[in-house]
C-alpha cells in the first residue's frame, strides 16, 4: 500500500486535472508510488465526480479570498486583467497555503502578487499595496486582545481622578492590534473612495514619496481603522518595542523630546495627556494600571 501517494494523487487530481487532463501522466509524476490497484481506483474516478471537487476547491478559495482580500479581488478583475475565478485558481495552485488560517491566506495573496502573479501588478501597480493594506487590516481585526488594559472610558476616568505623577506611573505598550505599513500608492484614499461611490476609480499614480500608516482595532466597533500619523507619532508608538508594559513616564519623556515642548511648560502634561487620550481612543496604545507598590 502507498497510502501517502493516494492522497498526493488525489491532491494532484483536485488541483491540476483540468489543466492536465492526462490523468495517468499526472499521477505518474505526482504520485509515483501508487500500486496498480490504487492507480486503477484513481484513474477510474468518473470525470464529473472529480469535477465536483475541483469546483468546490476553487469556489471555496474564491469565497475565502473575497473574505480576506475583497478589494484586491475586485481590482484584480477590474484592472489586473484576470477574473476572480482565474485568480482563485492561480493562488490555489501556484501559491498554496500550508495551513487553513485566513491570516496565512491573506499573506499568500501578497506572496502571489510578488511572485507568480506579478503580471497582475505590472498591469495595476497599486494592487500590491492594496493587498498589503488588506493583509494588515486582517491581522489587526483578528489580533489578540490587550487583556487587562483600560478601555477608553476607563482610561479617561483613571486620568481624571489622578495626579500627574499617578498618571505617569501607569504602564503602556503598543496595542496588540497595532500594525504599520508603508505605501507607495495612496491606496487608503483609493479604497475609501471605492466605499463612498461604490465603484473603483482609476488606480492612483505612484507617489513621489512613500508614506507609512498605522492600523489598529477601533475600541468601539472593533474593526480595523487606518491612521495617517506624523512621523513623530509613529516613532513614539514604536518606542516600546519590547511589548512589556512600561511606565508612561518614559513615553512622556520621549514625547517631550520629539515634539520640542519644554518640560517646564505648565501646559506640557495636559498636551501629552491629550495626545495619549487620542491614541487610546483610537486603539493605538494599551494603557494598564500602575504596578502596585510592594
Amino acid at each position: 500500500m502507498a497510502f501517502p501517494d493516494v492522497l498526493l494523487g488525489l491532491r494532484a487530481l483536485f488541483l491540476e486535472s483540468p489543466e492536465r487532463p492526462d490523468r495517468e501522466a499526472l499521477l505518474a509524476s505526482e504520485a509515483p508510488g501508487l500500486t496498480r490497484d490504487e492507480r486503477s481506483a484513481l484513474v477510474g474516478i468518473p470525470a464529473e465526480r472529480l469535477d465536483v471537487y475541483v469546483g468546490m476547491l476553487r469556489t471555496n478559495q474564491s469565497n475565502m479570498l473575497a473574505f480576506v482580500a475583497p478589494s484586491t479581488l475586485e481590482v484584480v478583475e477590474k484592472l489586473g486583467g484576470a477574473t476572480k475565478a482565474e485568480f482563485a485558481r492561480a493562488t490555489l495552485v501556484e501559491t498554496p497555503r500550508r495551513t487553513s488560517r485566513l491570516r496565512e491566506l491573506s499573506q499568500r495573496v501578497v506572496d502571489h502578487l510578488e511572485g507568480a502573479g506579478r503580471a497582475l501588478v505590472e498591469r495595476c501597480p497599486a494592487l500590491l499595496d492594496l493587498a498589503r493594506l488588506e493583509r494588515e487590516s486582517l491581522e489587526t481585526f483578528y489580533a489578540l486582545d490587550d487583556e487587562g488594559a483600560f478601555r477608553p472610558p476607563e482610561f479617561a476616568a483613571a486620568v481624571s481622578a489622578a495626579t500627574v505623577e499617578e498618571v505617569l506611573a501607569l504602564r503602556w505598550r503598543p496595542a496588540a492590534s497595532l500594525r504599520f505599513a508603508t505605501f507607495h500608492f495612496d491606496v487608503l484614499s483609493w479604497r475609501a473612495r471605492r466605499f463612498e461611490v461604490g465603484t473603483w476609480s482609476e488606480a492612483p499614480a505612484r507617489l513621489e514619496a512613500s508614506f507609512e500608516a498605522a492600523v489598529a482595532r477601533d475600541p468601539g466597533d472593533l474593526q480595523a481603522a487606518w491612521h495617517r500619523l506624523d512621523p513623530t507619532a509613529l516613532a513614539l508608538l514604536r518606542s516600546n518595542p519590547t511589548h512589556d508594559p512600561a511606565p508612561l513616564e518614559g513615553l512622556a519623556g520621549a514625547w517631550i523630546e520629539a515634539t520640542g515642548v519644554s518640560p517646564d511648560d505648565p501646559e506640557a502634561p495636559a498636551r501629552f495627556f491629550e495626545a495619549l487620550a487620542g491614541w487610546v481612543g483610537a486603539g493605538l496604545v494599551a494603557v494598564y494600571p500602575a504596578v502596585p507598590l510592594p
Binding site: F3, L7, F14, L15, M56, S100, R101, L144
Partner: protein
C-alpha cells in the same frame, strides 16, 4: 447514552444549533431557548476583538462545543502541533465537553486545500487515522469525535471497507467517539446508490455522542452537502429510526450557505428537539448556563 459518552460522563445536551456570524449578534441579544451551540473552532481560536467578544459572551450563557474543519485527520503530513495548541487553549477557554472533526483529509504534502476530501477506506488508512486521533485526544485531554463525511467519489481500491466499517475501525482503534452526520449518510446513499439505513445501522452506535442534521442541494444527479437548504424528509426519517438505538444524545442543526433568518433555523432545531423528546420522553431537559 452510548457507552463512550457514559464512560466519559458526556451530557446529552438536546437539540442545538451551529452558531454562525450571521446570527450571533441576534442570538446574544435575544437569547433564544437553545440548549447549546456548536462553533467552528477555526473561526474563533487565537483571535481577539469582535469574534473573541462573541464567543466569550456565548460561552457565558450556553454550553459551547468545538467542531473543527481542518485538523486534517487523514493526512500523512505531521500533525500541526501549533494548531493543536491553539485548539486546546480554545477548548479549555469555552470548556467544550468534547471536540470533533472530520474523517477525511484537508491537505497533504504541505498544501492546505480547505475541503473535506475523501480517504481511501483501507485498513492502512484506518490505522493511520486512529493513531493520529489518539495523539489528538491525548493532547487535547478531551473526548474526541470523528465525523463521517459526504463524498462524491470513492478512491478506495478493490478490497477496501465501506463507510460504516471504516468509521467503526477508526473509532475502535482510536478509542474515540463518533459524531454521526445523518445528512452525510443520506447524501452518500444517494450519490453511491446504496441503502442509507443499511449503512447507518452498521455505524458504531455505542460510540455516537452527537448527531449532525443539515440540508443538501442537488447538482445534477448528485447531492452536495452544502448545508444550504432545509433538512430533507429522508434525513428526518433516519433520525426517527436511529434515535431509539442510540439513547439520549445531542443533536445539532447545521446551516452554512443560503443562510436563512434565525427564526427558520430555530424552527429546524425545534423539529429536532421534538424528535428527541418523542424518543426520550422523561429525560430532563438540560439547563442552560444562563
Amino acid at each position: 447514552m452510548g457507552a463512550f459518552a457514559d464512560r466519559h460522563g458526556l451530557p446529552a445536551l438536546g437539540a442545538g444549533v451551529g452558531l454562525r456570524f450571521e446570527h450571533v449578534e441576534r442570538v446574544l441579544a435575544e437569547q433564544p431557548p437553545v440548549p447549546w451551540f456548536e462553533v467552528v473552532s477555526e473561526n474563533y481560536m487565537n483571535r481577539g476583538g469582535l469574534v473573541r467578544r462573541h464567543i466569550r459572551e456565548t460561552a457565558e450563557r450556553w454550553p459551547v462545543v468545538c467542531h473543527g474543519v481542518s485538523i486534517n485527520l487523514g493526512s500523512t503530513d505531521p500533525l500541526d502541533t501549533d494548531y493543536l495548541a491553539r485548539l486546546k487553549a480554545f477548548v479549555v477557554d469555552v470548556d467544550s465537553p468534547w471536540v470533533s472533526d472530520h474523517l477525511c483529509f484537508t491537505g497533504v504534502g504541505g498544501v492546505a486545500m480547505n475541503e473535506l476530501l475523501p480517504l481511501p477506506r483501507t485498513e492502512e488508512a484506518a490505522r493511520h487515522v486512529a493513531g493520529r486521533v489518539r495523539r489528538i485526544q491525548e493532547t487535547l485531554e478531551r473526548p474526541f469525535l470523528v465525523e463521517n463525511v459526504s463524498s462524491y467519489l470513492d478512491p478506495t481500491p478493490v478490497g477496501g471497507m465501506d463507510e460504516a466499517a471504516f468509521a467503526t475501525a477508526v473509532c475502535e482503534l482510536a478509542d474515540c467517539g463518533m459524531l454521526l452526520d445523518l445528512n452525510n449518510v443520506h447524501v452518500n446513499a444517494v450519490n453511491f446508490g446504496h441503502d442509507a439505513w443499511d449503512m447507518l445501522r452498521r455505524m458504531p452506535f455505542p460510540r455516537v455522542v452527537q448527531l449532525h442534521l443539515a440540508g443538501p442541494e442537488a447538482q445534477g444527479k448528485l447531492l452536495l452537502d452544502t448545508h444550504g437548504a432545509p433538512i430533507q424528509d429522508a434525513v428526518w426519517d433516519l433520525t426517527r429510526q436511529v434515535l431509539p438505538l442510540l439513547g439520549p444524545t445531542s443533536a445539532l442543526v447545521e446551516w452554512d450557505n443560503n443562510m436563512p433568518p434565525l427564526e427558520d433555523l430555530l424552527a429546524e432545531r425545534d423539529k429536532a428537539q421534538v424528535l428527541l423528546d418523542e424518543a426520550f420522553a422523561g429525560v430532563p431537559a438540560p439547563a442552560s448556563r444562563a
